[in-house]
């Protein structure tokens, strides 16, 4: 039992964090928005160079063989930066799912190109009504009646569903299911799809955790600088207490998020409840932090000039992404009402209670 990240885990995340601090500042986001482009190709090239596409794909399949716990801080960093490019959805969810079907020739071939960073893949999972980044993806893993189809986007009908978040690119995907598109039947697909949902929810939570901290940081920076009644507004108790309340939410979402990441591979009722708890806790932290930050910014908070709105919008979107509040609360309920409770079960796993 050592509930701390290893040096290696922290170092990898630091590298991503530093890169994003360099190339993904609000000014960069504004520039991209001005250009109306789907993604910043220069930034994406740098991210691809880091070789993280195969982070969660087993080494025997050409990936890095990392686990969710190794990737969770990277996803937090993406949230903190408001990264528009699909590092999290591609490397965190789509590729490990694709790798689960690498017995299929088409899947294996696509995986090779995706691991090399040549293309990205996205997922049309029943947990989400839309598909993210389908316009820039080479192919979509589509679930249809429980089975998984691999569909080249070029052969599908992609319909844009514009989001209020200028960097969320959502789509509906229509295609003709056939024996050729099918890569996994219902039975074979069930476990990988459940794992994909777990990863999707976990990394959405991680991004919201990053968003929450960014919102507090922006609020703190403004509160130190902005003067009213002859003092920085950050010296008023009301402003302090609002920001402290948001930070407390963040502090107690963090260990849940990290435990969820550490337990994800269990793939049981316990780990799923923990992931869902993390999703709820991080969404709450992001919500409180974003609203607090807007409030602290005063009238500025309502303007496009201030950066908080990027994070407010992303937080709203991710709250319902990979399952909303009701969905995740029920996953928690499934564990709470059906399994033993109490202090000795904090890190419980199904096997021990079988």
């Amino acid at each position: 039992m050592d509930f701390r990240f290893s040096e290696e885990q922290t170092m990898t995340a630091d590298v991503v964090r530093e890169l994003l601090a360099d190339v993904c500042q609000p000014a960069d986001l504004r520039r991209l928005m001005g250009e109306g482009a789907a993604r910043d190709e220069a930034r994406w090239a740098k991210i691809v160079e880091m070789g993280l596409a195969g982070a969660l794909v087993g080494e025997e399949k050409g990936g890095l063989g990392l686990k969710a716990i190794d990737f969770v801080q990277i996803a937090e960093a993406c949230g903190y930066a408001g990264l528009p490019e699909p590092l999290v959805e591609n490397a965190g969810v789509a590729l490990p799912l694709l790798a689960d079907f690498s017995g299929n020739v088409r899947a294996a071939a696509l995986l090779g190109r995706a691991l090399a960073g040549e293309v990205t893949v996205t997922v049309a999972h029943p947990a989400n009504p839309f598909v993210a980044d389908a316009d820039t993806a080479e192919a979509v893993l589509v679930v249809r009646d429980g089975a998984v189809h691999l569909v080249e986007t070029a052969k599908a009908k992609i319909g844009a569903q514009p989001s209020v978040d200028p960097f969320r690119r959502l789509f509906t995907v229509e295609f003709e299911p056939s024996a050729e598109t099918l890569i996994a039947g219902t039975d074979e697909a069930a476990a990988p799809l459940a794992a994909a949902l777990d990863r999707g929810a976990l990394f959405a939570a991680a991004q919201m955790q990053g968003i929450a901290q960014r919102c507090v940081d922006l609020g703190v920076a403004y509160a130190k600088e902005r003067q009213q009644f002859g003092k920085p507004i950050g010296s008023y108790q009301a402003v302090k207490h609002h920001l402290a309340t948001a930070q407390v939410k963040i502090e107690f979402a963090r260990p849940v998020l990290h435990a969820a990441a550490a337990q994800l591979e269990q793939g049981d009722l316990y780990s799923r409840a923990r992931i869902s708890q993390a999703k709820l806790a991080c969404a709450e932290a992001a919500d409180v932090a974003a609203r607090t930050s807007i409030q602290v910014h005063g009238a500025m908070g309502y303007s496009w000039e201030v950066d908080v709105h990027f994070f407010l919008k992303r937080g709203i979107a991710l709250t319902s992404w990979w399952g909303g509040t009701a969905f995740h609360r029920e996953r928690v309920a499934a564990r709470v009402f059906a399994r033993p409770l109490g202090p000795e079960h904090t890190f419980a796993r199904e096997a021990e209670h079988a």
Partner: protein
């Protein structure tokens, strides 16, 4: 206490309802904040209202009103929102400046400004804040120097609602350069097309541009444009702000209509929605009703000759928090669709809830932040000592 409408009040409601049924535009007008076209469409609507003498029913007939009391005003507002009639583009004029003019203006000023305000011929922006004077409004830096019966205005105003397209604005200026804080400020009107005025829109979080910055560079206006005495601006402005927050800025009917729509949205999605949302929906309805009842209490008191008190502050806190909660409930119901733009093919019945949510987030901030309101309640209502 009598909670029954009189026959006269019932007849009035009927009259308002049938007039609105005949005149309210069938299709919603385009936003008055995003295009000149939308702005002018709203101005045209103001003229239609004025023609029917519905522009400001509480005003004296001589200024285009009907001389009605606040209960009748509430009935009018209820019917107005019930009918889904357009937002009032001139709210800075008719709800904020108008009542203040009525109280502090000279007869000449009233004649000059009120009639054109009620008719929609002159639409008003407010110009309270400055970059360094937000919550701390008393630290206004913009100056007005009197030169032979003309003021020369200089300064930088910000967060001026409607200023992008409006005709006139009112704001606080320091007329005594040696003065500090609340003293030496005067309330002065200026035309937004005067030489030296530059207006720049502020893009908002919801993509609209309802606010603007105003740069004033030696703008000359006649001394006639000062409301009240020199140096009395702060007190007059507080009276305006009190009235704004207290009663007219947020008509209860607006929230009751929003609550009705929220209940409709909930009913349409009841099967998919978790039970906690149901409680939030019911709470929203209850809050909107509580707010309406509270305004009835205030209006009854004012109609009987009372004065507005700390309701200004309690109302502000209540409606701004209710507004956020209502929109959060709606977003919960919409789930994953909440983030879509209304133009998205799958948007369905998402309506304007997300924009409304962003707008609601500003509620605790403008018209005097809720932090300031809580101080006011604590100090003036509860008698706690100043810091």
């Amino acid at each position: 206490m009598d909670v029954n409408y009189t026959d006269e009040q019932k007849a009035f409601r009927k009259e308002v309802r049938s007039w609105l049924e005949m005149h309210v535009p069938e299709k919603p007008l385009p936003s008055f904040d995003t295009s000149r076209e939308g702005f002018e469409a709203h101005r045209a609507w103001e003229r239609v209202l004025a023609d029917g003498r519905w522009g400001m029913v509480t005003w004296p007939e001589s200024y285009g009103g009907r001389g009605l009391d606040l209960i009748q005003w509430l009935i009018f507002e209820e019917e107005y929102y019930r009918a889904g009639a357009p937002l009032r583009v001139n709210q800075n004029g008719i709800f904020l400046l108008g009542p203040t003019l009525m109280e502090y203006g000279t007869d000449e000023q009233k004649a000059r400004f009120l009639t054109s305000m009620a008719s929609g011929d002159e639409i008003w922006a407010q110009a309270w804040s400055e970059p360094q004077a937000g919550s701390d409004l008393a630290s206004v830096r913009a100056t007005a120097v009197l030169e032979c019966d003309e003021y020369v205005l200089k300064g930088h105003k910000i967060w001026s609602s409607r200023a992008v397209f409006a005709d006139w604005a009112f704001g606080l200026f320091r007329t005594d350069p040696a003065s500090q804080r609340h003293k030496g400020l005067s309330l002065i009107f200026f035309p937004l097309d005067a030489p030296g005025v530059r207006v720049q829109a502020i893009p908002q979080i919801d993509g609209e541009t309802g606010f603007a910055e105003i740069f004033l560079d030696d703008v000359r206006v006649p001394a006639f444009n000062r409301l009240g005495g020199e140096g009395e601006g702060w007190n007059i402005c507080m009276a305006t702000a009190g009235f704004e927050r207290g009663l007219m800025l947020r008509s209860p009917a607006r929230f009751q209509v929003a609550a009705r729509k929220l209940v409709e949205l909930y009913k349409a999605h009841e099967a998919e929605v978790e039970p906690t949302v149901r409680a939030a929906v019911l709470q929203s309805w209850m809050d909107a009703e509580a707010y309406a009842l509270s305004i009835y209490a205030t209006a009854s008191r004012l109609a009987a000759g009372g004065h507005i008190g700390a309701e200004a502050s309690t109302n502000k806190i209540f409606w701004s928090e209710m507004d956020i909660a209502m929109h959060k409930a709606a977003l919960s119901i919409l789930g994953a669709r909440a983030e879509l733009l209304r133009s998205a093919p799958e948007a369905g019945d998402i309506g304007r809830w997300l924009d409304g949510y962003f707008f609601s987030l500003a509620g605790p901030i403008y018209a005097g932040s809720n932090e300031i309101q809580r101080n006011i309640i604590a100090e003036r209502m509860l008698g706690l000592p100043r810091a």
